[in-house]
Amino acid sequence: MPHDHAHGGAWPRPSDNYVPHVHGPDEPPHSHPDPGVDPHQPLAGGARALRVGIGGPVGSGKTALVAALCRALGTELRLAVVTNDIYTTEDADFLLRNGVLPAERIRAVETGCCPHTAIRDDISANLDAVEELEEALGPLDLVLVESGGDNLTATFSKGLIDRQIFVVDVAGGDKVPRKGGPGVTAADLLVINKTDLAPLVGADLSVMERDAKARRGDLPTVFLSLVEDRAAGPVAEWIRELVRL
């Protein structure tokens, strides 16, 4: 089907390497991520907090990233966190111990051994938690929903969050971006974490970057080492941009 990608619209601002183009009539039918069209519903402007999901495999550093974002954004944004770890209070305790967020700004949700169900198929417990936070704390700017550790296919429902971040780490192997899966291909931001470990585990960051680009088109990917950047600078900046919209 001939179609034109140069649709207008406020979102997103086309990236630097985006070139508007038109497909010819002989091309076979196909689909691919359309960089000119926002796949999301528009954000509810100011009516409620921006909800950002943070998913990724076990041990990739989701909770550490949430803690870093709380440190970076906690003073400038009205912020709350919902955590879905299989251990009811462990992640919440991590945030509390690190002194990054007071207890009343954190809710833990049990997922019945199915972390992906709680963020995708049946989001009711998470929605309840988000709404309880909004009711208890008054208007918020940002709610981070951290999924329990799952596999590469676990993504958030758009009924629960506005944007999602997928976190993988270099220690999981530099082939993870090539494997793809909905988390890697469709997340609004892919975070390749623990880059400080790359030399130790023999991971080639340039391979990961190239594969991520191939899988994700123009969707952004950032490299992160929370050892070197305790405030998760590029991720925090990405979120600031969203909140400003």
């Binding site: 009811t88 462990e90 049990e110 019945g112 199915c114 709680a118 049946d122």
Partner: protein, 214 residues
């Protein structure tokens, strides 16, 4: 009455929060009282004739008596001594109403309805009757816990579904009794208690590490 609508209401994939609740099973597994299929069969039979009968009767009554939802909710409170179970029931009621609002026009209800009350409200909104509300409630009581057993104990899912199939006639019988009594005064509605479910729910709520919300 639409059979397909009943299947929609009783579908385990209905996004109404059920997957995060084990129906009290996680506590009994941890206490060593449920470890295999026979134990699970006993657990489900006991649950069906106690909390299953109560849930079915209140779902049927809520379906039949739209003006009495608050009184029915008080009746469930009086039959649920465990605060953890009251909280779990209200959380599931809230989730069910959230799903229900997306499916049918629902009348305005307090957000904190108990699960059986909410189920009766949805059944009514979907054009179903008290008998269907009761059978959906009884079915949900056993399938929720059975699904949790598959996840918690690694039981053979075929064997567990064989058990659910064998319990189907019991489910029907409980639902029939529940629907027959749906017009009784609230104090006379079924009140079959299950002490280990109450104790287990309270103990479970104190655990540092748990996989299910209840």
């Amino acid at each position: 009455m639409s059979l397909a609508t009943l299947l929609v209401l009783a579908d385990g994939r209905l996004p109404a929060g059920g997957h995060a609740h084990s129906g009290g099973l996680e506590a009994q597994v941890a206490a060593g009282r449920v470890g295999d299929l026979d134990d699970l069969a006993g657990f489900l039979r006991g649950k069906l004739r106690t909390s299953g009968l109560v849930a079915a009767a209140f779902a049927a009554a809520a379906c039949r008596r739209p003006g009495e939802w608050a009184a029915l909710d008080d009746g469930i409170d009086a039959r649920t001594p465990s605060p953890a179970l009251r909280k779990a029931s209200r959380a599931q009621g809230r989730a069910l109403l959230r799903a229900g609002r997306a499916m049918w026009p629902l009348p305005s209800v307090g957000r904190e309805a108990h699960q059986p009350t909410a189920l009766g409200i949805l059944a009514r909104a979907g054009g179903l009757g008290p008998g269907e509300a009761a059978v959906a409630a009884a079915h949900g009581v056993i399938t929720g816990a059975a699904s949790a057993a598959v996840r918690l104990l690694g039981l053979d899912p075929y064997a567990v579904h064989g058990l659910i199939a064998r319990l189907a006639p019991d489910c029907d019988r409980i639902a029939t009794e529940a629907a027959r009594r749906a017009d009784e005064p609230v104090d006379d509605l079924p009140a079959a208690g299950a002490p280990l479910l109450d104790i287990g729910a309270e103990h479970h709520a104190t655990w540092e590490v748990r996989l299910f919300a209840s």
